[in-house]
Amino acid sequence: MELDYDFLATTFLLVLTAVPVTLKLTAVSLLFSAPFAFGIALLRRQAAGLLQRLAAAYVTFMRGTPMVLQILMIYSLLPSLLNALSQTLRLELDVFSLDPIWYAYAVFTLNTTALFSEVLRSGLGSVADGQLEAALCAGLTKPQAYIHIILPQAMTAAMPNICNLTVNLIKGTSLAFLMTVKDMTASAKVAASYGYNYIEAYMDVLAGYIIVCSIIQAIFYFAEQHVGRYRLSRGKQV
């Protein structure tokens, strides 16, 4: 089998130009989901009640269904729902001309919220109860204690898992092509479809994801070292 090296090179550049779309999908979903994930994590750490059970059910549902299905459901349901809503409210929105990237944000945010909340929940669980008690006794309010004492420690403990979450999300956004969003995967597939150079296109996409994910992992590694210097310096003299 002969590889078309010219196509390989030009498509690789094409894939690189779509990197911002992939990163945008990832970053927006992470940012949108963070406050909800934090809320769910805090809620689920309290004694069981109706809200806690609802939150748990949401997490179970999102974790227990394939992302492809979530995408297909939302992409076929959400536009009709929005359209119906806009008609009843007489908003005269043209729902069907909405940039499909918004549907992608919706799916990935819903999905990431569930996964992120579990990451944060385990992070918060790793902080000893005595830290909050000591902060309250030092005269801090509960929100102050969370901001200055609990969260920094919880986030440090959660860093490897947040890295995992981010890298998985980056790879997961490759499914955005199902919603006609032109991310890295979609751009390569479109380019390949003209001359059936699928092998080359997939190799390009593969390389693209490895590069992006490696850089993200490196960033997280250094970030973890930085925020975790209080524990990584164990044994060393300052």
Binding site: A134, A135, A138, G139, I149, Y230
Partner: protein
């Protein structure tokens, strides 16, 4: 200054505190003794609302409040006027020794950073930890961590400091350095309530000793009386078991 009465606390059906009263005057060093499970620690934690008592009243100078139903404003008020030293130190893991001492000032009390830092250094100096001000708790020994814990407690100029078995988690050779710091505070006339198992130390620093067992105050009085001629059989048994051959020259 601080008067607490009729403190009750139940966990499930297990009654830990069955009506405890204490009174602390300015400059007092009240030492609470008793076998484990007698409710000493729970009692101390109720005073700072780390545990909610089921019943109980507190008079803190002119303020009167319920230990069971205090509002969050009242809880905040009590916590700002007191300080707590924990058995397992509970230093903020993500803060240096100096930051541990200043956090209650800068964040809890909105003091200017420079001023807080100055106080922080002075407090660390006092407990002999000034050279380690930039160290994180994970780089300090247990005794050093507890000394920072005491500096943190003192920094906020509390009216009372509560100590919950401050040396129980320490290796025997590190106990002395922490007790020396507390003793120094006692000499300075700081008001303290101390739960401890260190009898010799208790006899030396206490102005008032309370012996607790089974969720009640069994006996209380000046250390001389409690250690040398306790009235209650329960106190005698406890002291005999815990100090078989220590001599006291008070």
């Amino acid at each position: 200054m601080l008067k607490v009465s009729n403190v009750h606390k139940k966990y499930h059906e297990n009654e830990i505190l069955k009506g405890v009263d204490i009174q602390v005057d300015k400059g007092d060093v009240v030492v609470i003794l008793g076998p484990s499970g007698s409710g000493k620690t729970t009692f101390l934690r109720c005073l700072n609302f780390l545990e909610r008592a089921d019943q109980g009243e507190m008079d803190f100078d002119a303020d009167h409040l319920s230990l069971h139903a205090a509002s969050s404003r009242e809880v905040g008020m009590v916590r700002k006027r007191t300080a707590f030293v924990f058995q397992n130190y509970n230093l903020f893991q993500n803060k240096t020794a100096l930051e541990n001492v200043t956090t209650g000032l800068t964040i809890g009390r909105e003091m200017a950073r420079a001023e807080a830092k100055e106080i922080g250094y002075r407090m660390l100096e006092k407990v002999g930890m000034a050279e380690r001000s930039g160290y994180y708790p994970s780089q300090l020994s247990g005794g050093q961590q507890q000394r920072v814990g005491i500096a943190r407690a003192m920094a906020v100029e509390p009216e009372v400091i509560f100590f919950d078995e401050p040396t129980s988690a320490l290796d025997p050779e590190l106990v002395g350095e922490v007790l020396a710091v507390i003793k120094q505070l006692a000499e300075e006339g700081k008001t303290m309530v101390i739960v401890t198992h260190e009898m010799k130390f208790a006899a030396e620093v206490a102005t008032h000793v309370i012996f607790m067992a089974d969720g009640r105050v069994v006996e209380q009085g000046p250390p001389k009386t409690i250690f040398l001629c306790p009235k209650e059989e329960r106190t005698r048994t406890f002291l005999r078991r815990i100090l078989p051959q220590v001599e006291y020259n008070i």
